[in-house]
Symmetry: C7
Subunit: 100 residues, 7 copies
Amino acid sequence: MATEAKDKKSTAAKNFQPLGDRLFVTYTEEMERTSGGIYVPDSAKEKPQRGIVQAIGKKVENIKVGDQVLFDKYSGSKLRIEDEECLILKEEDILGIFTN
Amino acid sequence: MATEAKDKKSTAAKNFQPLGDRLFVTYTEEMERTSGGIYVPDSAKEKPQRGIVQAIGKKVENIKVGDQVLFDKYSGSKLRIEDEECLILKEEDILGIFTN
Amino acid sequence: MATEAKDKKSTAAKNFQPLGDRLFVTYTEEMERTSGGIYVPDSAKEKPQRGIVQAIGKKVENIKVGDQVLFDKYSGSKLRIEDEECLILKEEDILGIFTN
Amino acid sequence: MATEAKDKKSTAAKNFQPLGDRLFVTYTEEMERTSGGIYVPDSAKEKPQRGIVQAIGKKVENIKVGDQVLFDKYSGSKLRIEDEECLILKEEDILGIFTN
Amino acid sequence: MATEAKDKKSTAAKNFQPLGDRLFVTYTEEMERTSGGIYVPDSAKEKPQRGIVQAIGKKVENIKVGDQVLFDKYSGSKLRIEDEECLILKEEDILGIFTN
Amino acid sequence: MATEAKDKKSTAAKNFQPLGDRLFVTYTEEMERTSGGIYVPDSAKEKPQRGIVQAIGKKVENIKVGDQVLFDKYSGSKLRIEDEECLILKEEDILGIFTN
Amino acid sequence: MATEAKDKKSTAAKNFQPLGDRLFVTYTEEMERTSGGIYVPDSAKEKPQRGIVQAIGKKVENIKVGDQVLFDKYSGSKLRIEDEECLILKEEDILGIFTN
């Protein structure tokens, strides 16, 4: 999946550099029971959501490109890349990393 | 119970690493009079709740995996692992540890 | 009364360790004119209330187990031990100590 | 009046130790034109009020027991000692001291 | 006018010591076109107002007794000295000093 | 225009010294297309506005008397000098300086 | 496009110097699929928007004149230069830079 994430970046995110402690994240479509048995149902309001980190600012310390991350649904600033919803988040908004 | 907690982690939480001062917590089902005679009734609104720590971030200082903790009902970000409600909490949201 | 406080702790609070600058407090039933002539009427809304400290976190500096303390009615997180209302408070929420 | 203040303390406040930067204050009844010609009418809403300091916490720096102080009407936590309204205030809530 | 200010202090403010960075200020009655041509109409709501500093706390750095100062209408705590409206202000609430 | 600004100060602002990081500013009447082609229409609500700095406090670092500045419409405290609207602003409220 | 940006500055922004950590930004008209395939639809409410940096304050560290930047729709103070909408933003309001 890290490979898939970098492929995505090659088309959309390669031209965008987040500033400071911000990350550029695309949503993970496969919200179903992944390898770790964890899923976050799309229909659940105000539930955390999952995404893949596509680019990071210089001050991001504990997250790298390709990481699968969990974040609160209402964190960050939403934008759209070639019909895909994306997100600019701050590192402090990331709840954790999936390590499978 | 610490053993039971680690068993739970082996299925659900082993693939999730909380960031910074955050903890990954599952709720304790047995809310009845435990060894210490303390219980937190489920029906009580805005009452603190009890859980078991499944994973901790690198900056968590005074809590370890397996600890039974008390926290306010509305603290943290709720998510769901294999039909079980879970929680991402910050260490400062933990009111105390059950030491039985 | 300090003795009574420690007796209470032996059943209820001995299994709970508050974190950081928090205290575990049980309410004082005898709100009537105590030795110091001070009482806080139960019926008074938003008036401070009185309790006995049962356990303290490591960062609590000026209060010890057994102290009778005064605190604002809406401070802290309420919970219940064997049908008795208890409270987790921060040290900064304690207005003062009765020294009789 | 400093003498009267200490007399009052002997019955009510001698058993209460405010914590940190807090003061234990009783209201001054004689709100009429005192020696300094200053008075604060009781009927005026949200006007500052006057009291006598009965006990102080260890971190109080510029006020001592017996001082007559001015404070905003809605500052602090009210309580009652032997049918007299009292107040727990922080030092920063004290506007000034009457020096007559 | 500085002389007049000190005269006023001799009756009303000589018995009051503001604490910390606070000032004791009386309103200037003559709001009409003063020497500097500046006036603040009384009828204007939420407009700054003008006063004379009668006493200052120990931490006040840039204002002295006798200064004519400008401050926002809703700053500070109002009180009354011998039928004259007065004010306790913090130094940071003072917008500037009239230097005529 | 810098000359005109200093002329204005000679009548109105010469008697007022702003405190700390504050500035004393008069509005610029000629809001039409100035030398730089920039104008801020008066009718536009919540749009920034333009003025001339007449006096500055001792802690003002990057603005000097005579500067033409841009600021948000609702910043600062308004007052009136000889029928002209004026403003006390903090340096941090100044968006920028016109350098024509 | 960096060339176009500097041309714009020559007419409008050359007379304006933002203060501190502020930037002077003009909106990018061509919101359609640019080289990086990223676009921000104008009709989307509360979506981030794109602009070109025309002038920067002395404390701006990571952005330079000519950069194409992304920012939240409601950030900053809007003004108008020769019938074109412009914006004063703080550096911390810039989400990222387009690097194509």
